[in-house]
Structure formats: C-alpha cells, structure tokens
Amino acid sequence: MDANRAGAGFSKPQPLSHKIHLDFPLLAGLLALMCISLVVVYSASGESIAMIKSQGIRMLASLFALIFVAQISPTMLRRWAFPLFIAAVGLLVATLLFGHVGKGAQRWLDLGVTKFQPSEAMKLILPVMVAHYITRYALPATLKHVTIGAILIAIPVFLIYKQPDLGTSILVASSGIFVLFLAGMSWKVISSLVISAIPFSIMMWYFFLHDYQRRRVLTFLDPERDPLGNGYHIIQSKIAIGSGGLEGKGWLNGTQSQLEFLPERHTDFIFSVLSEEFGLMGVIALLVIYLFVIARCLYIANNAQEPFSKILAGAITLTFFVYLFVNIGMVSGLLPVVGVPLPLVSFGGTSMITLMSGFGMIMAIHTHRQVNR
C-alpha cells in the first residue's frame, strides 16, 4: 500500500508507452482486429478498393481518436462527466425533434458539415457519468445510489430507444448496467431485477416494441416463418457459416458472400463472411484475439488505482464484449437480429470511432497513474 507516497517526482521513471499514454499490447490486439477487418471487408465488398480505402481512413481517424482520448486523464474526465452527460442528453432530445431520418430511424443529427450520432457518444459518456456518480460514495453502492444510477441510465436509453434504435439502446444500457454491477450492486437487487424482467419484457412486447422489432424477435425464434423476408437474413447467414466448415472455402471464395446471397455482408453480417471463407479455425482465431483484448482491458481495470477508473475501464470492456456477443449470436442464430456491428471488424465509421475512443479511455486509465490526494 504505497498510496501515501505523494511525491510524484520520486516515482520510478515512466516507460515510453506511459509518456504517450498508450498501451502497446492492447494496441497490438486492436490493430490485429483491424487487419482482419480489411481482409474480410475486401472480400465482402466484392474486392472493392474504394471501400478498403474508406475503411482505412476510418481506422486512421479512430486511431487518432484513441490517441487523443488517451491523453485525457481520468481526473479531467470526471470533471467533465456531468456537463458532457447533460449535453449528450440534450443532443438526443434534439435528434428526436430535428433528426435526420435514415433507414426508418432518426439517429443522425445534421451538423451541416458532418452528420453526428449522439447515441454513439452516449455509449461512452453514460458509463463515465454513472461511474463518476457512483464512486463519489463508498462501495459497494447502496440501493439508493444504484436506483439513482439506474435513472441516469434510463434517460438516454429511453431516448435512443425512441429513435428507434434497439441495438444502440441495448449497448448504452449495458454500459451503464455494467458500471452498477462492478460498483457492487447487491446480488439481491440483481436477482430481483432478473425475476422482474420477465413481466417487464411481456409488457415491452405488447406496449413498446415496434412491429418491425417484434417481427425480428419472432423471426429469430423461427427463421423459417418468413424465409424470404426477415428470416432470409438469418437463414442465408447460417448457410454461409455452416458451409464454411472447419477450414473455410478460402479467401474470396465464399459463394454465399461473393454471389451476394448474404445480406449486409460487409457490415452487420461480416462475421458470416469470415466464417464462410476461413471456417471454424478462422473464427476461433478471431475470438482468441477478442479474448486477448478483453483480458488485457480487464487486467488494466483491475490494476487501476481508484474505483472510478477501475469501474469505467471494466464497464467499457464488458460493453465491448456485449457488442461482439450480440453480433456473433445474431448472425449465428442464437440471438434475434438487432443492428449491432462486429466491433472493429464491420465496415462502418461511427461505431469504430466510439469503440477506439473507449479503448483510449482505458489506455488513459492505465497510463495516467495518479495518486489519491
């Protein structure tokens, strides 16, 4: 317990990685995922150089975002938590009121120069906010603080859900819930929540879910119900994965993807392309890299010096896992189709920048070793 050694000047010399606030093992894992992304997107896009370029540019942008965020110390983050949260909620309300409609949902806010998805920012701001709130008090968090935390979570989740964007609202909700979980929310509360989830979900089904969301769930339960409509995606995806077998059909040789039977193959269903062309072996290789990234992040979280950092890093990591679990579960027929990309591999911009910013926060936590005053 050397937390009382206040004099920063006496600490041992910092390694380079700490000076530039990066964690090289984690960075290596992330870059590996990006490489896989480029390889599979190239195949899924029908060997489109243009798409590779565009994906590469996004990766570069998100790397810069990571480096930038990594420079922000957790202390600074805490200072800005509340104003950022208020601003993000405001933007969500603004999106609902004036948002740009794309694919039947209002997710985009047109800022003139670029379009911006406030819900993406919320994926990071919410855990920061909840972690900031909950760690102001002693842990484990009391029921009162958990309840207030839950209200903080519910506001943006509801706003995002109204857009409607089920996928993002699930991810935002889980980022907040993981904070509560890591803050030591009591098992009693957890179990009573799980039990009450059953009547709640029935209520959701009848009163809150949109028709298309209900169809998705029904289709998930029985894809053959609607083989040419909603079930088509799941059926074609499973055919792609299954026909890949153990070793896969080889890069650029996946018939399901190359002949375009697979829908959304470079975005949400990119995992199916990878499975078809690289087989179970390729899939396991990918999962090992993911597991490495998660393990490294949890290691960082556990070694962080104060509760806010620990909880924030843990929550971001677990949310990252939710991404990949929901995506893979969805394309392989374990979960209903909700629009969640395969993190860092799917083609597409906003989610990658958010994710990398999240990893930037984790690196910041690892490298800004401050002491409690």
């Binding site: 842990l139 074609q236 792609a240 299954g242 018939t255 002949l259 039977f261 999962l287 993911y290």
Partner: protein
C-alpha cells in the same frame, strides 16, 4: 494514511477486493459466453456442415435445360416439308435501358409498335427480372430487321433476337399429313406430367399437334441438354459450370412425293375432296391430300380467334378427308364384288346376264335402278366392270348374301383402321348382320344387300381404305400397312423403315385376280370404258374404276338431275386406279365431293398424278428412299436450323 477524504471513509482494500471479485465474475461470464458461441458455431460449421453446404450449392447452382432442335421433315426426294427458321423479335433489357417509354417511342419511329405490343411489354417488364430480355415486337419482317439493325447502335439494351420456329414451306397442301406444332398448352403440360416426361420437355416450347408432327412427336423432339450454371442472388448467371448438349430430334423422310401432293392439292383447289396415292409394293403413301385445307403456319404462332372461326366453316377444312372422310365407296368396289362372286363360284369369267336397266327382287315391288335407264343389255363380268353395270352387281350381291360379302370385304380392310402413322383416322363401316343389329337394332333385310353390290347402302369407306383395297388388287392380294414415314435420320445414321407386310388375301383361284384386273383394264383401255377418254393418250397403261356415289335416294321412277339438286346433295365423283397395269407402282383414290360423275370429275385428276409419278425422265431416279443417293442428300436438323428454304 490520510484521515479524511471529501467522501466518507472508504475501505480501499475492501473496495479493491470487491472490484476484483466482480471483474473475475465478469471475466468468467465472458469466457462462458464465448464458449457458448464456439459450441454453437461448432454445431453449425462441423456437425451440420454438409447440410449447409448443400443449401449453399442449391443457392448458387441452377440447372438450365437446353431445348433440342426439332427434327426436320423431308419428302421422299429430300425436299424440306417442315423446317426450323429463325424468327426475329425486337427485345429490350430493362436494366440497360435508361428510359423505357422514351426508348419505345423512338423505336416506334423505325417500326410500328401497336398499343397492344407496348402494353404487353410494359406488363411483363414489371414482372420479370430487370436483366432479362423482354420481347417488344415479334415476327419482324426482313425489312424491319434491316431497318432496326442499322439503328441499334444508338439504342443500348435493345437487341434483335432470333428464335427457331417451325415453318411449313408448302403450307396448306400438307397440313393434314405433316400436321403442325403449336405452343405447349395446359393440356400438354398435364399430359407431360402424367407421362413423367417433365425433364424431356423442360425447355420445349412447341408440341406436335396433328399428323406426322403429332404421331412422331417423340422422334422429332429429341432429348434436351442442360447447362449447370452458377447464379448470384438475383439469378444473374455468373459462370457456366457444366454443359451437356441436347440430342436433337431425328429428321424424318416421308414417303410423300411433294410433286404429287402439290399437284393434287392444286387440282382440288376450291373443291372438297381427297387424293390418296400409295405404292402397292410396300404401302408407302406417296400423296395424301385433303381439300379444303388451311395454313399450318397460323397455328405455330398461335392462331387468332378470328382465323380459327374461319376454319369452322361448312366446308370443314379441319377434317382430314383422306382418313376421316367416310364416303359410300360406290362403284369403285365393283371389282371387289366381282372377286367375291368369282370366289364363291356364283359367277365365272363367262357368266352373263341381261340388264333391263333395273333389278328387282322376286315378289318385291321395289326396283333397283341402273345408272343407265335403258340398261346395258347382255353383260359379262368384264363388261359389267367396264360399263359399271349396276344390275350385274345387284345380282351378284343378292346371290352372295350379306355374310359372304362382309367376310370377303373385311380382308381388304374396310371398316378397320388402316394402321396409317397418323392419329386422325376413322374406320368407316363395312356392314354386317351383327353390325346392323348393334347399330340400328334391326335385322338385315335382303334389300340391304342389293345396294351393297354397288357400294351404297350402309357401306362407307375412307379414301385411304379404298386406296389400300385397290393396291391389294393391283398386287394380287399382297397387303402392306400404309406408311407415311419412310426413313429417319438420327444420331445412329439413317434408318430405313421396312415395309410392313400383312397376311395377304389368298384366293382359291388366283386367276380371279386377273379377271378383276382385266375388268379394271377395260374401264381405262376399252373404248367403251368409263375412263377411256381420260387415259386415251397416256404413256403408260393403267387400270381403274370410276364411281359416282349417290348421296340422296332417288325414287324408283325419278330421274337424277344434278341441276335440280342442291350442290351439297350432288353425287360424289370417285375414281380408284393403279398404274402401270403390268407392274403397278402407284395406286390411287380420288374423291371429289358433290362433283357428279367419277369418270369425268375424278379420273382426270388421277391421270395427272400418274403422269407425274410415272414420267421416267424426271422422276424417281432421284428418289431418296429408292436409291442409294441417300448419303449426300441427308441434312441434319442442326445444320438446317437457321437457313431458310424457299419453295
């Protein structure tokens, strides 16, 4: 240790431990859930791999059948009777055309495009895949093709497509013999499914509907090939994986001589009637004409209701009179009646009777009139045939009785299917006691027998049957099943169809054949013979028998007067014959409905056919089916497809 923080007292150790615990739980959760994913993927990728592999192939591989080219049909001299010619149609691929209606408007400046064509196009453009070619205008004339071709470069996505369609260059004259093909309809589809031949007809558009086209549908059709292709999710062909070429239909060589066929049809033009000619030595059908007829090409492209209704006229052009027209044979069977009498020893070569111009049964008032009211005087069997004396044959028939007549005539094929290789055929009637009992529920009266002697009463026969009966006499009893098909040419080369010889007619005294033939010779060659004038200056010697079939009964004391009788009720003119007399090569029947006397209206037509067929200078040395010149003349359907034959 600092005592205080801004926050209440915190137990950092406990908090760290709590966090570590929660993290480990979360990490375990992560690992377990990843494991669940992997197990599920293992299930899909390894356990169910084969099933999904099959489904993936089912997605991408499509088998497209390739229709075989229909075999061609030739006459005995290798002249094309049915061929496949490309018909050109103007087609558009919607995907490649920017503005469909603007393009159609521009095309309409080059060729006329009716509102109906435009509407049909737009309708199918909505339903079909956008990269599939859709017909805007079909059956382009060569002029239209030329006009469009020079302008096509400015119309991307517009093209002229050639498809093979059946074409019958000789049109009407052969319709009832060769038949025609027409679009596969629902009935055909049902039959195809019933026969389990879906695979064979998978790519076929047309089906033989009549005559040879129908009877030899299987031979002409061939076997389809297929192309295994890889398609993408929109059905667009990505590449061809495998290709098996179709086995094209066999080419058929008919025994028909188109020269005879055309001549006979021209001669019948505008009249109702039939001409059937066969080779008595093997049953080869040399000509089979039915008039009036219609253009078979109308049916190939789908006949309009208006045109079809025209075919339902009172002249019944749809009926094949050669095999479905049942006519009273009239005097054309007198030589057979003579044979029956000779065989039964009722008459002999020298038996003669006195003909007063009528015949009367003892104790019955009714007179059976001779066509010559004042009678022929003393007639023997030869003179009876030569002059077509009715009274003589009334007597023969009466003395023979119905049983002996019907038994004898059965041998010549009356009342039976001829076995000709088309489906459209009727049996006609060879009456007998049993037949009358079954048909009319009446006993046979002696009076019924008497008019059988001159081929009237209940007796009806098709021209095909009459020709066969004549041929049997010509070759002294040998019987061959009549055949339209002479040879087929398929993958295994040319296959000659052998003559199909039946149980012959054997007479107790074969000299009787000579008597019958001599009688027929006299008809043509004796100055008093009914057909003497017609054949007077022919280069060959023929034999024959004229007939004039009465269609309404005329009272005993009434005189037949053609002018008084409505055209439909006038007599049918008939003639049967064969030539050359000593070595017969052709036997013929000519029937001209409501034309009056056989010798004046039917015999001249027979003469013209004989003239052509027996003209040794031009004719049969080039015959494909007779000579060995076959090899150089054989043309396969494949190489023929696409070329146009003029008439």
């Amino acid at each position: 240790m600092f005592l205080r923080h801004r926050t209440p007292i915190r137990n950092q150790t406990a908090e760290n431990a709590l966090f570590a615990r929660r993290t480990i739980i979360a990490f375990c959760g992560v690992v377990i859930l990843l494991f669940v994913l992997v197990i599920n993927l293992y299930n899909i990728q390894v356990n169910s791999h084969e099933s999904y592999q099959t489904q993936a192939n089912g997605n991408r591989i499509k088998v497209i059948p390739i229709a075989p080219n229909r075999g061609l049909i030739f006459d005995r001299n290798g002249i094309v009777l049915a061929e496949n010619i490309p018909t050109h149609s103007l087609e558009l691929i919607p995907e490649k055309v920017k503005d469909l209606s603007a393009t159609i408007n521009e095309l309409a400046h080059i060729v006329s495009i009716s509102d109906e064509e435009r509407a049909r196009f737009l309708k199918s453009a909505k339903r079909q895949r956008r990269f599939k070619s859709i017909i805007l205008k079909s059956r382009l004339t060569p002029e239209q093709v030329a006009k469009l071709s020079v302008n096509l470069h400015s119309f991307p996505g517009v093209r002229i497509e050639a498809r093979l369609k059946r074409f019958y260059p000789f049109g009407e004259s052969l319709t009832h013999t060769v038949g025609y093909v027409a679009r596969l309809n629902k009935k055909d589809q049902a039959k195809i499914i019933l026969d389990g031949e879906e695979a064979t007809y998978a790519a076929t558009r047309d089906m033989g509907r009549l005559g040879i086209e129908k009877y030899y549908q299987k031979l002409l059709h061939g076997q389809p090939g297929y192309r295994e292709i890889e398609v993408n999710n929109r059905g667009r062909i990505v590449r061809i994986l495998k290709e098996e070429l179709p086995e094209h239909g066999q080419d058929l060589y008919l025994n028909i001589d188109i020269r005879l066929q055309e001549k006979a049809y021209q001669e019948l033009a505008g009249r109702r009637g039939s001409v059937v000619a066969v080779d008595p030595n093997n049953g080869a059908v040399l000509a089979m004409v039915s008039s009036p007829s219609y253009d078979p090409n109308l049916f190939v492209h789908g006949i309009s209701t208006k045109n079809y209704n025209k075919l339902l006229s009172a002249d019944k052009p749809l009926i094949n009179r050669s095999t479905m027209g049942t006519y009273p044979p009239a005097s054309t069977i007198k030589q057979l009646m003579a044979l029956a009498g000779l065989e039964a020893n009722i008459i002999n070569e020298h038996t003669s009777i006195k003909d007063p111009g009528w015949y009367k049964l003892p104790n019955v008032e009714r007179k059976f009139r001779d066509h010559l009211a004042w009678g022929h005087g003393n007639v023997d069997v030869y003179r009876a045939m030569e002059k077509s004396c009715d009274t003589y044959f009334y007597d023969v028939a009466n003395r023979l009785g119905i049983d002996r007549i019907s038994t004898f005539m059965d041998q010549f094929g009356f009342g039976q299917y001829s076995g000709l290789d088309i489906h459209e055929e009727k049996r006609g009637i060879m009456p007998s006691r049993q037949w009358k009992r079954e048909r009319h529920n009446q006993p046979w009266y002696p009076g019924d027998t008497i008019s059988l002697g001159i081929g009237q009463s209940y007796w009806t026969s098709t021209p095909m049957q009459l020709t066969n009966a004549t041929a049997i006499v010509a070759v002294s009893g040998k019987i061959y099943r009549p055949q339209l098909l002479g040879a087929s040419q398929g993958r295994n080369g040319l296959l000659q169809l052998p003559a199909d010889e039946k149980q012959p007619v054997i007479l107790k005294d074969s000299y009787n054949w000579e008597i019958a033939k001599k009688g027929m010779w006299q008809v043509v060659n004796s100055p008093g013979g009914t057909a003497y004038k017609v054949f007077k200056d022919a280069n060959y010697i023929s034999a024959g028998k004229s007939g004039t079939a009465q269609l309404i009964s005329i009272a005993a004391d009434e005189k037949y007067d053609a002018k008084k009788i409505r055209e439909r009720h006038r007599d049918n003119a008939m003639y049967v014959g064969y030539a050359p007399y000593d070595k017969p090569e052709i036997a013929i029947t000519v029937v001209v409905e409501n034309a009056g006397g056989g010798s004046s209206s039917a015999a001249p037509l027979a003469r013209k056919i004989f003239d052509i067929y027996l003209d040794k200078n031009v004719s049969n040395n080039s015959s494909l089916l007779a000579g060995n010149s076959m090899q150089k003349k054989t043309v396969s359907s494949t190489s023929q497809a696409g070329t146009t034959h003029g008439r």
